[in-house]
Subunit: 187 residues, 2 copies
Amino acid sequence: MPTANPRLNRDSWIDAALALLLQSGPDAVAVQPIARQLGTTKGSFYWHFSSRDDLLRATLTRWETAAGDDLIASVDARTADSGKKAEALVEEVTAGERPGELMLLAGTNHPDVAAAVERVARKRIDYLARQLRNSGLTPAAAQRRALLVYTAYLGYAVLAASAPGVLPDSARGRRALVSEVAELVLP
Amino acid sequence: MPTANPRLNRDSWIDAALALLLQSGPDAVAVQPIARQLGTTKGSFYWHFSSRDDLLRATLTRWETAAGDDLIASVDARTADSGKKAEALVEEVTAGERPGELMLLAGTNHPDVAAAVERVARKRIDYLARQLRNSGLTPAAAQRRALLVYTAYLGYAVLAASAPGVLPDSARGRRALVSEVAELVLP
DNA sequence: CGCCCTCCGTACGCCGAGGTATGGACCTGC
DNA sequence: GCAGGTCCATACCTCGGCGTACGGAGGGCG
């Protein structure tokens, strides 16, 4: 569906590239396919960007800033109770609304991608550990459990993308999972 | 390093393809690069395989049978105590010897890949749940915690591949993580 | 009207992948 | 030694991606 043709700008390309990046991984961020999807040609692209790598970098930084604040802000808004934040975060994930962001991990070979992924991971884990410390855990335990929760988060996303059949299919089942994790992790 | 040239067979190609599949994802299973790495040419390949997809399918089934039994057998061998098996499994992972197998998840778009991933995941989760039931958990709780452990397993592998900096760098730190998970999950 | 600057379409060259055809090396058995 | 099967190298085709060159549309502005 080549969308209609009002003049494009740099952000139009980044928007489309981000969607592809999250859904199909960095390799899918290709100039000509995006051009077709946008109903335009490479002539436009190379006016706004110097290369494919330029687009990829721009898309990554856009994702990084968005993903860094996005999820945290969403959780912060949902509840002010520090003890409940871990649970809220897990809920956030299992809700399944959140888009892929998983295929991104496919591009770990690309150094820029790996660096962005690591920065975002660190930010989120630190945030989680802070909440757990506020809930009364020792710093060391908070760090370990934050890592546990985040790995479970990632693994859940992996399965949701690759093997949804093994996950609970009902909202009740998913909620049971979330509260179980919260029970286990919180003191 | 084009390796020397004793006559090749079908398995030689699958071996090389499997390594690439686990390390760099399905897209990396390409004929010409593997041929170069093997010090041969496409002429050889198309004698043993009918197409690239043929190789990919063969590599997937090889992985599936290996991964299905492999990990479980390794854990079974390590300890007969049903209660310790979950811990042994997590240890198995954090040891970090196990190769990627993670980049495989990048190929979820490919239906054959997704199907293989799902079958292996189900097998492993069922195995885990069985051990947890033997440890005295109710079937429902065992199922939930098995899923939790497996998602943590996957997430850990994801981070090991994409953001190793956020993981504990010492063996002691990793062991502490493992025992924490075992403590939390076992009754 | 004419100029210029922004934005984009077209055409081209390059490369690396998949796949095919064909000839030749090498062994094996008679 | 020679016939036939096994295995592989070479050359060639197509396709789709990246990147470049260039020219043209279109609007603002004097």
